[in-house]
Amino acid sequence: MSSVRTVHRLRRRHLIAAAATAALGAVGAFRGLRGADEEEQPEAPGGPSFDETYRGRRIQGEPVIRGGEHGQGSWRVTVDGQPLGLMRRADGGYLSMVDHYQSYASPLAAARGAVDELGTHQALNGRLH
């Protein structure tokens, strides 16, 4: 993660300085490989914070700076305001209290997956773990 941040900082500095043509050419090539996401701010592990309505449920998530009991990369995720417990996976993904048997690529994907599993009539009760 830190090396990605370094690249972001370096690239911005290059752009601001309107540096030599060679340097801009290199940046252009790099952008071509990495795609449009490159323009965005460096993110916490797990992607950007989110707040959206998915299948009629409001799902919100933000990284928690202090690790808490579940270690680094913790997130606070809620479904209709009720906390959804997440845990990190060794493959870099996340699993939720609702679905313990697959890795979701991001907290957002885990929250959507939890909504899928909860069906239309169930709400979380706030139990984290």
Partner: protein
């Protein structure tokens, strides 16, 4: 006296009733919900930097063997003739199987809230969820996930696991590419329908409570894990020259798994039992295969 765990499909009507009655009595006494809590509390995922004993770890099999033994001991205090039956999901593969009959597990959940409405574990028949993660106090299932159908693991899936000659390999978690334990537990790096194998796939197939942290609320949990336990026994018989459990020694201080997994002679919380203690069950129970 060595007792026998039978295939659920071979139980007599009376045996089915006595098993269900014993489970219901543990539920009424509050003991059942202690098992639900233990399983929730000890679930530690492998991206967390702390000891994990129950899942995504070499001790997945001995930990659940001990868990089943405790449950069975509680059942047998209620009725000394009861044992935990096993569900061979390579054979009894549909929601129409007698396993899901009204006198054993009851059927799938209804649409919408996935509430189980038939059998002894339906809310209206008195099975109330106390240690859940939703606001509903009823058991939920989604057998076969009809909205996006999925099949139970096959004999070939089991063979893919038992073909492994080594019990487990580094990094000793859900990303271990080889080893019987991870292949039976069923973690893969595949996507789509192929991502779940064996044990994990069954949890996915049953759905509802079985998919989440509070899976023990569904009594089919025990029948499923009895079959996983049987498969471990079968693998040991098949591989007499393989170490029955690995690692033999704890990872050293520089290892990423240092203090995160249990070696053969180390205790598995919440008990003092070690994997070594769980390697043979011949003196306690046998499987009728």
């Amino acid at each position: 006296m060595v007792y026998t765990r039978k295939n659920q499909s071979s139980l007599s009507r009376g045996e089915r009733r006595r098993f269900v009655d014993a489970v219901l009595r543990l539920k009424r006494s509050g003991e059942y919900d202690e098992f639900v809590r233990t399983h929730i509390d000890l679930y530690v995922s492998d991206g967390e930097h702390r000891l994990r004993v129950a899942h995504m770890t070499p001790s997945f099999l001995p930990w659940h063997r001990r868990f089943l033994l405790d449950f069975e001991r509680a059942l047998r205090r209620v009725d000394a003739d009861v044992t935990v039956p096993y569900w061979d999901w390579t054979k009894d593969r549909t929601p129409a199987a007698s396993l899901w009959g009204e006198d054993l597990m009851g059927g799938t959940g209804r649409r919408g809230d996935r509430r189980v409405t038939t059998g002894p574990f339906a809310r209206r028949n008195g099975w109330v969820i106390k240690e859940g993660i939703t606001d509903g106090d009823f058991l939920t299932r989604d057998l076969g996930r009809p909205g996006d159908p999925l099949k139970l693991p096959t004999r070939q899936d089991v063979a893919w696991a038992t073909a492994e000659t080594v019990y487990d390999v580094s990094p000793w978690d859900s990303t271990s590419r080889r080893g019987f334990r991870n292949r039976l537990e069923g973690w893969t790096s595949a996507t789509g329908d192929e991502r779940w194998r064996n044990h994990n796939r069954v949890h996915r197939w049953v759905g509802g409570h079985m998919l989440g942290g509070a899976s023990v609320n569904d009594p089919v949990f025990w029948l499923h894990h009895a079959f996983v336990d049987l498969l471990w026994s079968r693998w040991q018989r098949l591989r007499p020259d393989s170490a029955p459990y690995l690692p033999a020694k704890p990872p050293s201080a520089g290892d990423p798994q240092y203090r995160r997994i249990v070696a053969r002679g180390e205790p598995m919380p919440p008990w003092r039992s070690t994997p070594q203690d769980m390697l043979g069950h011949e003196g306690v129970y046998r499987y009728a295969e």
